[in-house]
Structure formats: C-alpha cells, structure tokens
C-alpha cells in the first residue's frame, strides 16, 4: 500500500513531533528530578558551611568558592584573548591563509574532549610549570577550553554590527582602533557578554578537566596555589560514594539553578543585543 503524499506527511510530522516532545520531556524530567529531590535540602546552612566528614554532613561553602575561583579565572583569562582574536579576525584581516589557520585551530580546540584538556593541564601547568593541583592550574586549563566559544560568539556579535557604524566613525576621522574600541565593541558588548556568560556556565559544569588540574581538596582555598574541589566534582564524588544522597541532590540542585540562571542572563543579554542591533 502506498500512502498519499498528504498522508505520509501527516505520519512523518506525527512521528517527528513525538520525538521532539520526548526530547522536551527528557529536559523537563532531568531538571525537575534534580530540583524536586535537591532543593528541599538547600538551606542557608548548606550554602554557608564547610562540609564535615567527607561531605556526609555540613555544607558546600568551600566548593562554591572554589568553583567561582576556578571558573572565574578561566573566563577572565580567556575573555580578553578571545575578544582580541575575534577583533583581529573581523576588523583587521580579510579571508586568507592566516584566518583559515586561526579558525581551524579554534574549531579543533572546540572539539577536544575535556579529559584531554585535563591531561594537558596536569602535565603542563601542574607538573611542568610547577603550579601543582591548584586553582591556577584549573583556571588556566579552563581558559583554554572555553576560548573557542568566546572567539566564536564574539566574532558573531562583532559581525552583526552594521557596516554604516564603522563608516560614520571613519568619516569623523577616527582611526581603525578608535572605531573598534568606541563604536564596534560598544555595540557588540551584549553579544560578547552572552558568550562570556555561556562560557562561565560551561566552566561551572566541567568536571573531568578540573579533577586532573584543580584537585579535590575540601578546605577553603586560601590562595590561587591551593587545590580546590569544584561543585561538579564534589557532586560526582558524593554520587559515586553514594553516602548522603540528600547532600548529593542538593549540590546538583545548586548546579542546575546556577545553569538556569546563567542561561537566563545570556538570554536577556541576547535580547538586548538584538534590540540594539535593530
């Protein structure tokens, strides 16, 4: 039996919508599952206390500090480099050998698995340069890891700035650099901010790379040379050892809320960017 074109379209659409609905269902399930089991255990004490007896009791305060330190450092190092690369690619060169090589490097870096970044950070930053398992090693490793994201999003944001803006600036006698600094970057800022926020989200979720570079010490880090366990790694260790499920769920809930918050922030920035570009 052959279906008529209209009937086969109806069947195909039904199948694909079912799969799409299932995808949305999975997303909702994951978020609600974690929040429902975790949020009741997220108290002020949990957020502000240090863990006791390997995380069975107490809170996650040192891990929050560690996560912010490692991820913050990664993004702070990566953002200027990434934005400068994007400026060079968009404002200072035309398409050629050089840009092809730079893009190839960025695209390949984006595909390298986090465990490879971890191995590299371990042998280069921690052992080779003598930084040890520390916030510094972890931050530098993450900086390299999020660099392609920042380059790509900044590039898109800069390209979206209308050409007329630049022409007006040149017409007023500004140099290229003044134009970039005062006209292009200013208009592209919300778009660049979106990329930075998304990179921060990626850094916070990262586990394999920070495990091999920042270590898993549970104390409150005192300097950049201290080892510090991040939230995601703490969750992994709790979940694997299976001791206090309530603490594991609560940690996961904090991670999910942070992820949702950062995505919302990125969405808000993007909206502003589009409003501006129009």
């Amino acid at each position: 039996m052959r279906l008529s074109p209209a009937a086969s379209q109806r069947a195909a659409v039904a199948v694909m919508w079912t799969m799409t609905a299932a995808t949305i269902g999975v997303l909702a399930f994951v978020i609600l599952y974690v929040l429902a089991r975790g949020l009741p255990h997220v108290t002020w004490e949990f957020l502000s206390r240090a863990p006791e007896s390997m995380g069975r009791r107490g809170g996650i305060f040192p891990m929050i500090v560690g996560t912010l330190a490692v991820s913050g450092m990664g993004v702070l190092i990566s953002a200027p480099i990434g934005v400068a690369t994007a400026i060079y690619l968009t404002e200072y060169t035309r398409k050629g050998m050089l840009t092809t090589i730079i893009r190839f490097g960025a695209d390949c870096l984006a595909g390298i698995p986090s465990i490879i970044f971890g191995l590299f950070g371990f042998v280069f930053f921690a052992v080779g340069l003598g930084m040890g398992l520390s916030i510094l090693s972890g931050g530098l490793t993450l900086a390299l890891m999020v660099l392609p994201t920042i380059i790509r999003t900044s590039e898109e944001a800069i390209r979206a700035v209308p050409q007329s803006f630049r022409e007006v600036s040149f017409g007023l006698g500004c140099t290229r650099w003044q134009t970039v600094l005062f006209v292009v970057l200013r208009s592209a800022l919300p778009g660049i901010g979106t990329g930075i926020v998304l990179s921060l989200g990626r850094s916070i979720s990262e586990t394999a790379a920070v495990m091999l570079t920042a270590g898993s010490a549970m104390g409150l880090p005192q300097s950049l040379f201290d080892s510090s366990r991040t939230l995601a790694l703490h969750f992994y260790i709790l979940a694997r050892e299976g001791l206090p499920m309530s603490k594991a769920y609560a940690t996961a809930a904090v991670l999910i809320v942070a992820m949702l918050g950062l995505n919302l922030l990125a969405y808000g920035l993007m909206k502003r960017f589009h409003a501006k570009a129009r």
Binding site: P5, Q9, A12, V13, M16, W17, T23, V26, V30, I31, Y33, I81, A84, T85, I87, Y88, Y92, L98, I101, I102, G105, A106, D107, C108, G111, I112, P113, S114, I115, I116, F117, L119, F120, F122, V123, F124, L144, L147, P148, T175, R176, W177, R202, I204, S205, T207, A208, M211, L212, A232, F235, Y236, A239, A252, L255, I256, M259, L262, N263, Y267
Partner: protein, 287 residues
C-alpha cells in the same frame, strides 16, 4: 597610522593563541604518550585487550571497541532525535515556535555531564537491570545517556545547515506542488547534506570524548562487551578512573590512551571542518 600597525601586530599574535594552545596540547600529550606505545610495541598496545598495569600489560583494544560501541549507540539515538528536532524547528514551525524550542537545545547542552550520568544511574540503569537483565550498567545505558548528551550538538548544527539552504530551493519545490515533507526529504536533506554529516560527525566527537557520565553508567569492566547489556569501559573513562593513582609507566600508558583519543578526535574534527568549508565554498560559487 603607526600605532594602528602596532595594534594590528599585537592582535595577530594574540589571535594565534588558539592554534598555539592546540599545538601545545598535542605536543605534551604525544611527548608523554608516544614513547610508551613504541616501548610496548604498537601491536600490543592497540590490538591487545590485556590491560594489567601492574604487570606492564597495556592493551587498549577493548576500550577502543567500547568507545566505538557506545558512540554508535549514542549516534543512533541522538542523531535521530536531534535531526527530527532540527526538521521540526526549521521545516514545520514558524519563527515563534522555533524560538520557543531553541532554549530546549541550549538547556540540554548546559546540564552538567555528571548530572546526566547520575540520573542515568538512578533511572535508566535500574530499568534495564529489572526488565532486560544484566547488571544494568551497560553499553545500552551508556548509549542512551550519551544520546541525550549529543542531541543538542546534532540539532543545533543541523539547524544551521538547514538555514543555510537558499530559500528559493524550498519555495521552488513547494511551487511545483510537493508537500512540505516531500520538500524536506527530496530537497532540503539533499541540499543540506554536507552540513548534516558535519553535525553527526561533531556529535560523534562529543560522544567519543565524554567522560564523567560514561564512568557513572558504563560499569567500566575491562572485557570487550559481548552484548549491549554488558558493562563496558571506554578510553576516556579509563583515563579518568586511573589517573588519580597511576604513576610511572602506568601514567604514561594513560597518556598513550590520550594520544589515541586525540588522534580519533582530530580525524573527526578535520572531516567536519572540511565538510562545512566545502559547503561555504559551494555557496559562494552559486552566487
């Protein structure tokens, strides 16, 4: 003007940091890992499944097979679901609905891999154990979890590929009387082909490289799995599991596993990049 030249030069130097980083990574991973492959002999490294670090046996064949099996499973699930999400968003919904579906992809991509792994352990693993048998921690569980994790990659790159097809193709097909579904199958899938293949390849790269979620649901046994219900260990999870206590030759062997992984990923990356740049060139030529 002189100032401008200096700035251009500084920016150019900075712009090389991504490729320099890639080169550094390659150099150090290879420097640590490659000597061991020669020391053990490449046959005994790549073609043997005997991984007993205490006895100096470092064969990664089982782990390579494990990686291939879970990647294939993940692509089957993530590829089909990701592609249909992309088709629904680009061919069968207006801008408003597509805009509402976009956050689904972003949030799925944003959930930490450890959370995926954990939920897999809590929900999928017991389901498999109770209804299909085996230990539950298995190739199947791993494929399902990885499938969900690669879905956003496949979907977002497929969407870009569909959007890059000139609108006139779509309109022309509809004007000839084809239904939207016929247009999708006969025109859009063909026109977006290289981009869609790139999406699948990049999704594969993601599945091959994923670590933490795999450790949690794969069971990590060292044998080559004889069914999809058997536990499995991948290249990545082996590194993450043993790096904490490995030293000497053992640590070098883990770097050698890293070399293997790096080479696989670079092949996939290069294929995907070449495919997308071909597409860009074809588009430029059509103008």
């Amino acid at each position: 003007m002189r100032q401008d030249r200096i700035i251009r030069f500084i920016l150019m130097l900075v712009a090389f940091s991504a490729i320099a980083g890639l080169a550094l990574i390659a150099f150090f991973i290879f420097k640590e890992g490659v000597p061991l492959i020669f020391q053990v002999g490449w046959r005994d490294f790549f073609l043997s499944s005997e991984w007993h670090p205490s006895e100096g046996l470092f064969g990664v064949f089982a782990m390579i097979m494990g990686t291939l099996m879970v990647t294939a499973g993940a692509m089957l699930i993530g590829g089909v679901f990701g592609l249909s999400l992309a088709i629904v968003m680009t061919q069968f919904s207006g801008p408003r609905l597509a805009g509402a579906l976009k956050p689904v992809i972003e949030l799925l991509a944003g959930i930490p891999s450890v959370v995926y792994g954990f939920i897999g352990v809590k929900t999928i693993v017991p389901l498999i154990r109770d209804h299909l048998g085996g230990p539950g921690l298995s190739v199947l569980a791993c494929s399902i979890v990885l499938g969900v994790m690669v879905l956003p990659t496949v979907a977002s790159i497929s969407i870009d590929a569909f959007r890059a097809v000139p609108r006139s193709f779509w309109e022309g097909s509809l004007a000839l009387g084809a239904t939207r579904w016929q247009t999708t199958c006969m025109v859009m899938l063909k026109a977006a082909r290289s981009g869609l293949v790139a999406a699948v390849i990049l999704g594969m790269g993601r599945a091959v490289g994923e670590t933490m979620a795999v450790i949690m649901v794969a069971g990590n046994s060292l044998a080559i799995p004889d069914s999809i219900l058997a536990p499995v260990r991948t290249l990545t999870s082996n590194i993450a599991l043993e790096m904490g206590y490995a030293s000497g030759l053992h640590r070098k062997a883990l770097f050698a596993a890293g070399v293997t992984l790096f080479v696989i990923i670079m092949i996939l990356n290069t294929a995907a990049i070449t495919l997308s740049s071909n597409r860009a060139r074809a588009k430029g030529g059509a103008k």
